[in-house]
């Protein structure tokens, strides 16, 4: 809780600092302050590890799972901020706002990991999203940025409407927003739940599925990922995704979903896997590619989510965290390559990377392999665990399908690797400027992908 407060305050502080950010020094101050604050938040969350009690009259409860997720969120945000120092070097105005907004949406993330009341869930989602609507439009002069922002906003609030409808119906049946009560109701009449209750759960799930970009509610994500500033995209595809899945998990685990709804969700999983992987095959723009790949990963995560095993939280946490680390690293590398390629975002800007900067190329390979799920990387262990859960839950056909889709996935990651390791035709390979800090962050991501792959128990609740 204190971590949450700290972060909110931190946001305000950063905003104030923003007043002086006209001067370079003021701007240079922002990220360090934010990072230090986040470190503090991290410390606070960890120290509160065992305060596993309902707070604020059953509004939130920081149990182990939520704490773990919170820590993950904070760590990832820190990495992004560390890169931000370099990223916002070129940007003049609203830098402070960017940091502040990310922090605010982090607050939303915290709520999502720890809510025990539908109202908090709702507020969490909104607090997470609204700053992102703005951040997506962060590059005000860029048409694509604006478009991304608007699409995100439009579709987002549309989904919110459904989500609210869902909550309203749940309330109508259970006469409460307290998940404990909801669960009680669900368990008491599990065999014949009230039609409106099912309806309500369904709409709520729709809202959440939108947040995790599950097909067919995924349409926003490719456009938004592509249009938004790269850093924001990184933030969205990592922090937001993690938080959203935490929320989803909490919702599913706290309100036992009826079988019929499970069925629908399984179908949704299959569709998500299909769309994500198949469409990603033909992407030339790397950011879009990452968007689709993240959709695909949502598919795998949904599989784990639905398995409803005792290990689900653990697996989800491992998967999202390692996925986030890999993604952050890749987006940073992308930004660097993009600069070198003068603003071009397509895959072939990686060509000749190995010549230009072997280490970077190798890290890229590791990260991509991790996303692809090749052994010894974290991504592999993650996928393997997902399969175990799915098979354990008896989704044999679905997991067979998932296996095939994983193969498809490997294909487009391998294509990028191939680019990175084929020398450029004219022999002139891009010149990447890598500041030590970036190098550090990237290396961290790469090593963690290997480390967590080799020692999975390091990332466990």
């Amino acid at each position: 809780m204190s971590a949450l407060i700290l972060i909110s305050v931190l946001g305000v502080v950063v905003l104030y600092l923003g007043l002086f950010s006209g001067s370079r020094s003021g701007k240079a101050l922002l990220a360090p302050v934010a990072v230090i604050g986040l470190l503090g938040a991290l410390a606070l969350s960890i120290t509160k590890w065992h305060m596993d009690v309902p707070m604020f009259g059953g509004m939130v409860q920081f149990d182990a799972v939520s704490i773990a997720f919170n820590c993950a969120l904070v760590v990832i945000t820190m990495l992004i901020f560390l890169f931000g120092i370099d990223y916002y070097e070129r940007m003049t105005d609203h830098v402070a706002e960017h940091y502040a907004l990310m922090l605010f949406s982090l607050v939303g993330g915290f709520l999502l990991t720890s809510y025990t009341n539908l109202l908090v869930l709702f507020l969490g989602i909104e607090i997470l999203s609204i700053p992102l609507y703005i951040l997506a439009g962060g590059k005000k002069k860029s048409l694509r940025s604006g478009e991304a922002s608007f699409k995100y906003f439009l579709l987002g609030s549309f989904a919110t409407a459904f989500f609210l409808m869902g909550i309203a119906l749940i309330y109508g049946v259970t006469a409460s927003f307290d998940l404990a009560r909801v669960q009680e109701y669900a368990s008491t009449n599990a065999e014949h739940p009230h039609m409106l209750f099912v309806l309500g759960l369904f709409f709520a799930v729709v809202g959440l599925s939108f947040k995790v970009a599950a097909a067919p509610f995924h349409f926003w994500s490719p456009d938004v990922y592509e249009g938004a500033p790269t850093l924001v995209t990184a933030f969205m595809s990592t922090v937001v995704k993690t938080a959203a899945f935490a929320a989803f998990y909490r919702f599913v685990s706290l309100t036992a979903l009826p079988a019929a709804l499970m069925q629908a969700l399984l179908v949704m999983t299959v569709v998500t896997l299909l769309v994500g992987n198949i469409v990603a095959l033909r992407q030339s723009n790397f950011k879009r590619l990452m968007a689709y790949s993240s959709i695909a990963h949502s598919g795998f995560l949904l599989m784990a989510l639905l398995s409803g095993s005792v290990m689900t939280a653990q697996v989800l946490f491992y998967y999202t965290f390692t996925y986030a680390l890999a993604t952050v690293g890749l987006f940073i590398i992308l930004t660097l390559a993009k600069r070198a390629a003068n603003g071009n975002e397509s895959i072939d800007i990686f060509r000749g990377l190995f010549r230009a900067n072997p280490w970077l190329a190798i890290v890229t390979m590791v990260l991509l392999l991790s996303l692809a799920g090749i052994p010894l990387t974290a991504g592999f262990v993650a996928k393997y665990q997902v399969f175990l859960l799915a098979i354990g839950a008896g989704f044999i056909k679905v997991s067979v399908f998932a296996v095939v889709m994983a193969l498809v996935g490997i294909y487009y990651y391998v294509l990028v690797i191939r680019e990175a390791f084929t020398p450029a035709e004219d022999g002139r390979s891009p010149v990447l400027v890598v500041t030590p800090l970036n190098w550090l962050v990237i290396t961290l991501c790469g090593l963690s992908a290997l480390l967590f792959g080799a020692m999975p128990w390091l990332v466990s609740i």
């Binding site: 909104e126 609204i130 309203a168």
Partner: protein, 109 residues
């Protein structure tokens, strides 16, 4: 207070539910229907309000205040969203001199 009670009890809950469903659907249809983004935003507001109505009805039905509190929060959020939405709209209008949804198709495939 008796008349009030009788009045509230007189109108069956179903009718409130139906009404809010209808409003919701109208809003939804409108959101799909129109190209003018402003009006789409209005339709969203309409959908929110249908939910509000539903919540209020339920809260009255259960005579439990939390429903109304929730409505209160929804209003807050709606206000915030509209603010942001309109801001985005303004920015958009400034960039591409239009508020037509179909003009927004640079990002695709």
């Amino acid at each position: 207070m008796e008349p009030v009670v009788s009045a509230i009890r007189a109108v069956p809950l179903e009718h409130y539910v139906y009404l809010s469903f209808v409003l919701f659907s109208i809003g939804l249809a409108g959101a799909l229907f129109r190209r003018n983004t402003i009006i789409i935003l209005m339709c969203l507001e309409l959908m929110f309000n249908s939910v509000n109505l539903l919540l209020a009805a339920f809260s009255a039905h259960h005579s439990d205040p939390s429903g109304q509190v929730f409505v209160f929060f929804i209003m807050l959020v709606a206000a915030a969203e509209v603010t942001v939405g309109l801001a985005i709209l303004v920015m958009m209008k400034r960039n591409v001199d239009s508020v037509d949804v179909n003009q927004l198709n640079r990002l695709k495939w």
